[in-house]
Amino acid sequence: MNSIDDLIAIVRDELGLPITDEDAEAGFDQLAGWDSVHLLRLVTVLESTTGRRMSLPAVLEADSLADVYALATQ
């Protein structure tokens, strides 16, 4: 994953959510169709993509995809 655009693409293709690049900074409550199952699924996908384990408590406290991206790449 080289940029947040890759994360946006993963959300579109793996979760089926029709989000755009502008949604990266938006809060999860602003994303159409978003619910907690998506966050859990996203962690699974990101861990297998990056080969690194993420901190689930930190992810559950994330407010936006930008937050998740920061956690996945830190």
């Binding site: 579109r12 293709d13 793996e14 979760l15 089926g16 959510l17 029709p18 169709g33 619910d35 907690s36 199952v37 859990l40 699924r41 699974t44 689930l56 408590p57 559950l60």
Partner: protein, 623 residues
């Protein structure tokens, strides 16, 4: 040779990106059929975004199955999993997800959202944490037993209430026993006792199925025993998802088969390939004594597979065989091979011929008065599996692993024949069908296969045999019996001598298609005489026979001879017991009989089949 092509997963994604999934919903089962667990999970998330009503607007006939999900813990991962599993069967899921932690209220209150949705299936998912959170601290075995008893009583009450008040089916599950329970007890006797208490609770849950007609109890032990993790500690601790995503996916698969059963789409007939499916080896090449079905390592694996087929048949599943073979040797094996479990009378029909298999399946469906969508087809060949998937999309296709030890698992991995009840009438069905079906063998007709071949991307490489090819070419001459025009057996030294002699040459045939590389599959032995070029022998593995490869190769040889200024090409055929399928090989492609041989005057060479792309690399001025 490698051939790249779009995978079903990328096709599905392309439809999703283009917003065309709903319009193309009938294609979805075909795209899901070959996906592994991870691919299916991914597809489930994408498909779960579809509005069932929109799909129905485009395809009003699509059956909709309402499934309500409730139970202990976070269960939202079940919705995409169920969506994918139902879509595999061409069904549409109308999900209702209960609220977290309120399954008791939701199931007891007949005015709750899940009851008002009037679902066909209600899943009430039970997990071990619902027991553990009832324990005091410290706890002992009796505390666990008491907590288990309470939960069993609770589920018993819910099941009774459901049955008296609701239509549809209630699905519950047994409780996986976490190691964290047994391992917290340090003495062996207490561990054994808590294990016994836990199993007694699960047994009580399983026995509920005896008293409630519309209750299905999923036994999770066999799934866990195959290595599916019961839980993922992080998801359990932080997200209250107490069963692993993989386990929930397996439960969704079981509910998918229940949904298929409820919508009247239960599979009724198991159609088995023979060579390398119910026995090891190729009957046409290896002969009755050469196939493996009993004492060898692999033979025992095939025999185990036959026993499973027989067991299924005892419960009303019809068995049929579809094999590219001559009928007589097959009949002989089924009648008199001492190692066979399955016999002629176990099959409602044995189609042993050289027709495309989908023609045999269509004909079988007509004869049995069943739809082909009630068939499960089992084959070791990717080509045959692909053909059936393409030509008869309703057929469930089981592609066997290369190692026969895994074949039983492959067949039983999916509950294709799952049903709510087996009746006496079901058990009598195979015998009844056997009496009704007239056995017949068919003429060769290859027309209906053309569409499939056009998509198959057959590539053939015809080149002079190199030193590296010699062992394989020799092996082909020794082992190939069916497509072997003269059955001349050659040791490696013989092949080498033929290749090196000034007036003769050997050509290797390699082939590949979209399923992968088939490797070196055949050979042509040529000799130049004063009167023209002689095809002294040609052989082709029966794995790739009847795909146009032999025709393309022969056309290339004829073209080469004409370019070289030959007056004619001669062909030899020496009949044996096993090579009858190529008796008319030369006359089929424009040769005339000339004494004991066949002669082509090179004036009018048949065009090679368009679906085969052939590369020819033997130098000019070689025989």
């Amino acid at each position: 040779m490698t051939i790249s092509t779009d995978t079903p997963a990328t096709d599905l994604l392309a439809l999703h990106r283009a917003g065309e999934l709903a319009v193309n919903y009938p294609k979805v089962p075909g795209l899901l059929a070959e996906l592994d667990a991870a691919g299916l999970t991914r597809a489930g998330h994408v498909l779960a975004r579809l509005d069932p009503d929109e799909v129905r607007r485009h395809h009003p006939g699509t059956p909709v199955v309402g499934v309500a999900v409730t139970g202990h813990g976070t269960l939202s991962a079940l919705v995409p999993a169920l969506t994918a599993e139902l879509a595999r069967h061409g069904l549409l899921l109308r999900p209702t997800l209960g609220n977290f932690g309120s399954y008791l209220v939701e199931l007891s209150d007949l005015d709750s959202a899940i009851h008002r949705a009037d679902p066909d299936v209600v899943m009430c998912v039970l997990d071990p944490v619902m027991v553990l959170e009832e324990l005091p601290l410290p706890w002992n075995v009796e505390d666990v037993r008491r907590a288990l008893d309470e939960k069993v009583a609770l589920v018993t009450g819910l099941a009774a209430r459901f049955e008296s008040a609701r239509r549809g089916h209630l699905v519950v599950n047994t409780l996986p026993l976490p190691r964290a329970v047994t391992a917290q007890l340090v003495d062996y006797r207490s561990r054994a006792r808590v294990g016994a208490a836990w199993r007694e609770a699960n047994a009580a849950l399983l026995r509920l199925a005896d008293v409630h007609q519309r209750l299905v109890v999923l036994d999770l032990d066999p799934i866990l025993a195959e290595g599916v993790p019961a839980a993922e500690p992080r998801l359990s601790t932080y997200a209250k998802a107490h069963l692993s995503t993989e386990l929930l996916a397996e439960m969704a698969r079981a509910v998918g088969h229940l949904a298929r059963n409820l919508t009247g789409q239960t599979k009724k007939c198991l159609v088995l390939d023979l060579d390398n499916t119910i026995w090891g080896g190729v009957l046409g090449d290896d002969g009755m004594d050469g196939i493996e079905v009993e004492d060898t390592y692999r033979g025992q694996a095939y025999r185990a597979f036959q026993r499973v087929a027989k067991q299924l048949s005892s419960q009303g599943i019809l068995l049929a065989a579809a094999s590219k073979n001559n009928p007589e040797p097959v009949r002989e094996v089924l009648r008199s091979h001492p190692g066979m479990v399955l016999r002629e009378h176990d099959f409602v029909r044995v189609s042993a011929n050289w027709r495309p298999k989908h023609d045999n399946l269509s004909e079988l469906a007509r004869a049995l008065n069943l739809g082909v969508d009630s068939f499960v087809f089992v084959d070791d060949s990717a080509y045959e599996c692909g053909l059936i998937r393409t030509a008869l999309p309703g057929v469930a296709v089981v592609h066997l692993d290369e190692d026969p030890a895994l074949n039983v698992q492959c067949l039983l991995r999916d509950g294709w024949f799952d049903t709510r009840e087996v009746t006496d009438d079901d058990r009598a069905r195979p015998a009844r069908y056997r009496d009704e079906v007239v056995r017949q063998d068919f003429l060769q007709t290859f027309d209906s296969i053309q569409n499939y071949l056009d998509e198959l991307g057959v590539r053939v490489d015809l080149a002079e045999t190199t030193e590296r090819d010699v062992p394989r070419v020799s092996q082909l001459t020794l082992r190939t019996n069916q497509f072997n025009l003269t059955t001349r057996r050659m040791q490696p030294a013989d092949v080498r001598a033929w290749a090196d002699a000034p007036d003769s040459t050997v050509l290797s045939i390699r082939s590949a298609d979209r399923f992968g590389d088939n490797g070196l599959v055949g050979a042509i032995f040529l000799r130049r005489g004063a009167d023209g070029l002689h095809v002294e022998n040609m052989l082709l593995s029966c794995r790739v026979f009847a795909r146009g490869i032999e025709q393309a190769c022969l056309a290339a040889v004829l073209g080469h001879a004409r370019d070289e200024g030959d007056q004619a090409v001669y062909g030899s055929y020496r009949p044996t017991v096993k090579n009858g399928i190529v008796a008319d090989f030369f006359t089929r492609y424009g040769f005339q009989r000339a004494g004991t041989a066949f002669r082509h005057d090179l004036r009018d060479i048949d065009e090679p089949p368009e679906h085969v792309s052939l590369t020819l690399s033997f130098p000019r001025s070689t025989p």
